[in-house]
Symmetry: C2
Subunit: 130 residues, 2 copies
Amino acid sequence: MSDYQVTQLGSPAAWNEQGKHFVDKDVETQYIGVSANGFAPGQETSIWHSHARLEEIYIAIAGAGQIAVDHEVVDLVPGTTVRVGQGVQRALRALPDGPGLQYLCVRAGGAPLKEVSGDSTRSEDPKPWS
Amino acid sequence: MSDYQVTQLGSPAAWNEQGKHFVDKDVETQYIGVSANGFAPGQETSIWHSHARLEEIYIAIAGAGQIAVDHEVVDLVPGTTVRVGQGVQRALRALPDGPGLQYLCVRAGGAPLKEVSGDSTRSEDPKPWS
């Protein structure tokens, strides 16, 4: 049996309905975590946080939104890709007057994923768009 | 200056025109490699290969295609996600009579990306759909 596994995230147009969907909860991965995310207009991540060990790459697939990285805000259109290093706070939102936002978050930390998970720190500071 | 970088992959609908687009060539990443790929109907990866150290996760975004993993073939529709372990040969194609295929390939190897790159082995065997 070859070492591969298959799961279904569904069409990006349907990601708003399923909440955060972790590929690495569906199938066992070694190093890579992936989540598919869909926001209705104005919806945003509840957690404004940084990672100590994980590198993350956010890839906007459809819609219109923003990512806050520390005190800066980057607009997200389909294809916008943002690498976030360690110690940087990040949060995402769909524009309140836009069509919603669908994006992927990829994470890895240079070691087995299980060893580098649980490395996040929440912030109680207001987000830049608050 | 916060440690984050931004690049643009363009809308998935336009990925066919740009060939393989590596996020990790646009911006310096530590652990994660990502490519955006767009195939016209019937187009396929030229390289039928395996990796010694890299884990890869393929995520179909739009269109219709297939991934060959060793001697098996998995259909790809939007959202189909396939994790491929080490030593498994893989190739992808857009269905000849379909609308094309747009997909992401994510790779990481449990060490800095530069240390685990160049680990691929090509196969001269026919692909399962040949």
